[in-house]
């Protein structure tokens, strides 16, 4: 390939104020991180509640959670995003609708739509991990907890969930990484996160390869950093002798 790489492009002025193209990437990274973290908080909280519901003895809670998972896992993320961004605001009460469409900064309303969308989508996946984690525990654990007189919420909070979460840290980590990758759908509704800024830089400068190489490197470094953090978490909560204990 005969291509003249020009890495200095990132330090050139964009022509808008005193901004250089690198600034666009930094702004984009900021949106990507903010989107991913807020979606992840929603996913983790809601996913845990749903995962617990799927393991409850009562029929209704379990069925509700199952329907939720099937719905949010099987509709493509992009379709869900368009529903949240284009349709749902129209169904809101009029005041809320006007506020969302006119009073809010367009970036803010796009941010809210993507966060809700990605949070609820990922919650379905977290739910399944949490359920698997709980069901992987020996049945006797819950029995022993109930036998001591603990009530259902205590059994989950003190006995089942702390163990389940330790088991599912690796799959949860990969869900967390997926959130970062999936957050790039935001570029399709005009939120200037990392991918959108990359595309814009490519269009403005015609340095397409440099722009996408930098974006790739940033996503890669982000993923590595997260993986290291999660590995640290895993080590911190490791229980002495737990592996030796095995299943029973």
């Amino acid at each position: 390939m005969n291509y003249n790489w020009d890495w200095s492009v990132f330090f050139k002025s964009t022509g808008i104020g005193s901004e250089i193209y690198l600034d666009w990437f930094i702004t984009g990274l900021g949106w990507t991180v903010a989107l991913s973290l807020s979606s992840w908080v929603i996913a983790l909280l809601l996913g845990t509640v749903l995962g617990v519901m799927r393991t409850l003895p009562g029929r209704f809670a379990a069925r509700f959670a199952t329907v939720y998972v099937e719905l949010f896992r099987n509709v493509p993320l992009l379709v869900q995003l368009f529903v949240w961004y284009f349709l749902v605001p129209d169904w809101l009460p009029e005041k809320l609708e006007l506020w969302f469409k006119q009073d809010l900064h367009p970036a803010t309303s796009a941010f809210i739509s993507v966060t809700v969308c990605l949070g609820l989508f990922t919650a379905a996946r977290v739910c399944e991990q949490v359920r698997t984690g709980i069901q992987a525990l020996p049945r006797g654990q819950a029995m022993a907890a109930y036998a001591l007189g603990l009530r259902l919420p205590q059994v989950y909070r003190k006995v089942l969930l702390p163990q389940a979460f330790r088991i599912i840290i690796p799959p949860l980590t990969s869900e967390f990484l997926n959130v970062f990758k999936n957050s790039s759908v935001a570029s399709l509704i005009g939120l200037m996160e990392l991918l959108a800024q990359t595309k814009q830089t490519a269009e403005f400068t015609a340095n397409l390869f440099e722009a996408f190489t930098l974006a790739t490197v940033i996503y890669f470094v982000l993923n590595m950093a997260l993986m290291l953090i999660m590995r640290g978490v895993e080590k911190r909560v490791r229980v002495p002798g737990l592996i030796a204990l095995g299943g029973k």
């Binding site: 006797g140 029995m143 022993a144 907890a145 109930y146 036998a147 001591l148 007189g149 229980v239 002798g241």
Partner: protein
């Protein structure tokens, strides 16, 4: 103390318990034995409401277990239970295992719960292990901790479900010793076990179950001397022969 009257239980079409009746008086030690799948575990789990049953009544210290008005967690907190696979909470230290329910269920203060837990740990001969985690102890040690954990709730009765059958032979006695001592102190106990040495030593009565029914419910001497039912005789000769 524990009164079981005409209890039956089904899993779908399959009857696990059929018309079981027996009584355990205060301070009595009753051993439950019988072949695998005969419903022993199911029966003692009915006593503290871990398993629901469809017919009959069980009354523990004046409280009806099957009644929808009964506060089951409260009842369970007064009845200790020890499981075949110990079921210590592996993510909690030994001390935390001993204090969790004392604090959360009985509302005891941290240091009171700790004092009580450590005293019981000392009693089962494991005070050196308070800071360890269950996975760092041997099976026998874990089961002794599990007994201490149940005792920390000051139970009015103790239920044991094959407490030694998951243990290596050399660890069985350290657990049985604790149980014998407990029996001699007057604890009301219902013990599912095939350790007939234990039964001979401390049991008042022996119950023999087969296919969900209580086939024999006799004083210990009578049971070992001349079991009435053929099935109990066959079972006894099988487990005593090795």
């Amino acid at each position: 103390m524990i009164s079981i009257q005409n209890v039956s239980k089904w899993y779908g079409d399959f009857q696990v318990l059929s018309d079981c009746s027996t009584e355990v008086q205060k301070g009595e030690v009753v051993v439950v034995c019988g072949p695998s799948g005969s419903g022993k575990s199911t029966l003692i789990k009915c006593v503290n409401g871990l398993e629901p049953f469809q017919a009959g009544t069980i009354v523990v210290d004046g409280t009806s277990v099957g009644s929808p008005k009964t506060d089951l967690p409260k009842l369970r907190s007064r009845v200790g239970m020890v499981f075949q696979h110990f079921e210590l909470f592996p993510h909690l230290s030994i001390t935390e295992n001993l204090t969790l329910a004392q604090r959360k269920v009985l509302g005891r203060k941290d240091d009171e719960a700790r004092r009580k837990g450590l005293a019981l740990l000392d009693r089962v001969g494991l005070s050196a292990h308070a800071a360890k985690f269950p996975g760092q102890l041997s099976g026998g040690q874990q089961q002794r901790v599990a007994i201490a954990r149940a005792l920390a709730m000051d139970p009015i009765a103790m239920l044991f479900d094959e407490p030694t059958s998951a243990l290596d032979p050399e660890m069985i006695n350290e657990v049985l010793d604790v149980m014998v001592e407990l029996a001699r102190e007057g604890m009301t106990m219902m013990v599912v076990t095939h350790e007939m040495g234990f039964a001979r030593k401390v049991a008042n009565r022996v119950i023999f179950m087969d296919r969900g029914a209580i086939v024999e419910d006799a004083d210990k001497d009578e049971f070992f001397g001349s079991p009435r039912s053929e099935r109990a005789q066959a079972f006894l000769s099988k487990i005593l022969s090795h």
